[in-house]
C-alpha cells in the first residue's frame, strides 16, 4: 500500500515538474540560449500571488490569473530590453540572465523582505480512497497543471503559431527564409516560458514555502529534466519529469529522507556520463 501511495504522490509531483520543465525546454529549443533567469519567474509568480492574496485580499483565481499575466508581460519586456541586445553571445546571455535573476531576488528582499511566507491552501482536506490518502490541494494543482500542459501541446500541434514555433526550433534559418518573424516567435516563446514557470509557482505556493531564493531549485530541476529528456524534445521532457519525481519520492522513502536532493544529482551526473543527449534527444527540435 505504501508503494501505491508513493507512486501516486510521485505522479502528482511529476505533473508540476513537467509544467516547469516544459517552459524551459521551449525557450531552449526556440531561442538556443541558456536562460538562467527562468527560476525567477517561478519566484515572481509566487510573490505576485502572495501580494494579491495576502496584501490585497483578492480571491485565489483572480490572483493566480493576474500573477501569470504579469509574469508573461515581464517576460516580454526582458526579452525585448535585455536579451535581444546580446542574444548571439552565449556567455554574455548566461551571465546576464544569472545577474538578472540575482537582481530580482535582491529586489524582492528589498520590497517584501526575506522571511519565509506561507499561502493559505485553496482546497483544504484529504480524500481517502481505499486507504490511499490524497491531499485535495495537490490534486487540484496537478489537475490544473495537466490542463495547462495539454493546452500547450495542442497549441504547438494545431495552431499556425505553434507550427511556426516548431519550425524556428528545428531550422532557424529555414524559418527565416520562408518569412516567419523569428524574433517575434522567440519573444513570445520566452514570455510563454515565463508564464508557465509562474503558473507552476501559483499552483505550488500553497504547498511549499515562499521565499526570495525559492527559484533556484526549480531552475536546476528543470535543467536536469531537460537534460535527462534530451534537449529540445517535448515528449522526453514530460517523461523525464515524471521519472525524476518518482525517483525522488521513492528514494526519499526507501533509502533516506535527505537523499531526495542528492538522488537528483546522481541521476543527472549519470545521464551526462552515459547518454549526454538524454533519453529522447538528437536535437530533433520541439
Amino acid at each position: 500500500m505504501a508503494f501505491i501511495q508513493l507512486v501516486i504522490s510521485g505522479v502528482l509531483q511529476g505533473g508540476l515538474y513537467a509544467l516547469i520543465a516544459l517552459g524551459l525546454t521551449l525557450t531552449l529549443g526556440v531561442m538556443r540560449i541558456t536562460d538562467l533567469s527562468y527560476g525567477v519567474y517561478y519566484t515572481l509568480g509566487a510573490y505576485f500571488s502572495f501580494f494579491f492574496i495576502i496584501k490585497l485580499g483578492f480571491n485565489f483565481v483572480l490572483a493566480g490569473i493576474l500573477s501569470v499575466v504579469l509574469a508573461f508581460l515581464i517576460g516580454l519586456l526582458v526579452e525585448r530590453l535585455l536579451l535581444r541586445r546580446i542574444i548571439s553571445d552565449e556567455l554574455s546571455v548566461m551571465i546576464l540572465t544569472f545577474a538578472f535573476a540575482y537582481a530580482l531576488e535582491e529586489i524582492i528582499v528589498f520590497v517584501w523582505g526575506s522571511p519565509f511566507r506561507t499561502l493559505p491552501p485553496y482546497a483544504i482536506g484529504t480524500l481517502n480512497i481505499g486507504g490511499i490518502l490524497l491531499e485535495k490541494q495537490r490534486l487540484v494543482s496537478f489537475a490544473v497543471a495537466v490542463v495547462l500542459i495539454v493546452l500547450v501541446l495542442l497549441f504547438l500541434k494545431k495552431t499556425r503559431f505553434g507550427k511556426a514555433l516548431r519550425m524556428v526550433s528545428q531550422q532557424q534559418h529555414g524559418a527565416y527564409l520562408v518569412g516567419i518573424d523569428v524574433q517575434l516567435i522567440q519573444r513570445l516563446t520566452f514570455a510563454v516560458g515565463s508564464f508557465l514557470a509562474a503558473s507552476a509557482a501559483v499552483l505550488l505556493s500553497p504547498i511549499y514555502l515562499v521565499y526570495p531564493a525559492m527559484g533556484w531549485s526549480p531552475l536546476l530541476k528543470a535543467f536536469g529534466i531537460v537534460i535527462l529528456g534530451g534537449m529540445g524534445s517535448v515528449k522526453g521532457t514530460i517523461i523525464a519529469a515524471f521519472a525524476l519525481a518518482l525517483i525522488e519520492v521513492l528514494s526519499s522513502y526507501y533509502i533516506n529522507q535527505s537523499l531526495s536532493q542528492v538522488s537528483f544529482f546522481v541521476v543527472l551526473i549519470l545521464v551526462i556520463l552515459i547518454r549526454p543527449s538524454g533519453l529522447f534527444g538528437n536535437r530533433e527540435g520541439v
Partner: protein, 318 residues
Amino acid sequence: MKEKKLNLIFILFWLIALLLVPPLFPRYLLHVFIIAHIYAAFALSWDLLAGYVGELSLGHSLFFGLGAYSIGYLSGKFGVDPWLSIGISCIVTVVWGLLIGLPCLRLRGPYLAIVTLAFQMLFFLLANSLYNLTGGEEGIRNIERVFNSTESYYYLSVFLVIIAFIICYLLVSSKYGLIFRTIRENPEAAEAAGVNIVNYKMLGYMVSALIAGLAGSYQALYLKIATPDTLSMALTFSAITIVAIGGKGTLVGAVLGSYVTTFIFDRFAFLKDYKMLMYSIVLVLCVLFFRNGLAGAVKRVLLWRKMGVDNMPGGGKA
C-alpha cells in the same frame, strides 16, 4: 605586443606599490588590502575560465569553500600543521575539479555551468544542515594562528595574489593561451587542427579550481574560521561582478575590479546592506553597456596615441 609590455609594467608597479603599503598607510588599511587580495585571486581564477577558456563556472565558490573547509577540518578539527593543510586542501580542490570537469567538459553547451551551480548549492545546503560535521551556520572555528602580526598576513596575501596573477598570466600568454582562445572562438577549427579540446579545457579548469581553492584556504587561515558563506552563491556572484567591472578576459581587470569594489564598500560602509543588490544591477549594466570594463577603458587611453591609421578597422593595408 604592446599588451605584453603593459602587463609587465603593471606587475612591476603593482608589486612596488604593494610593498610600500605597510610602512606608509595605517594598520587598518592592511586588512582592507588583504580582503581585496582574496577577492582578486578568486576573481582571477574565474576570469581564467570565463575569459580565456570560454566556460562559465557559476558555482565557482564551491572551490573557494572546499579550500576553506579543508583548512577548517585539517587545522581546526585535527590540528594538522597549517602549511601542510594548505597543500592537502589544494589536492582536495583539484580532485573535485576533476570529478566535475570530466563528465561536463566533454560536452559543449551549458553543462559545466549548470552542474557546478548544482554542486555549489548542494554543498552550501550540506554545510548549513550537517551540524555535526560542519558546525552548521557557525562554521568551523579554532583554526590555528600562523602569524602574530597583520603585516605577515598582508605579505602572504601579496604573495598569494601575485602568484595567482603570474600563473594565470604565464598560462594565457603561452602556447596554451593561444589554444584556449582558439577553442573559445572556434572549437571546430581547433579540433580540425588536432587539438584535444577536452584536455585543454580540463587544464584550464584544474588551474582555476586550484587558485580558487588557494584563495579560500588563505581566507580560512586569515579569518581563522570557515563558514558556509565561503560556499555561497553571493561569493561567486561577487567574483563575476568584479571581473565584469574590471574587464573580462584581461586578468588585470580582475585585480582592478576587486580593489575598486573593496575600497568603495570600505569607504561607504552604509552601502554594505545593499551590496548584492548593487552588484547584481551593476553586473547587468556592465554586460549590456560596458563590455570591456575598466581594463578596456584604461587600455584604450594608454594605447590611444598608437592608434594610427594601421590600427583602424579596415585601414592601413589598402
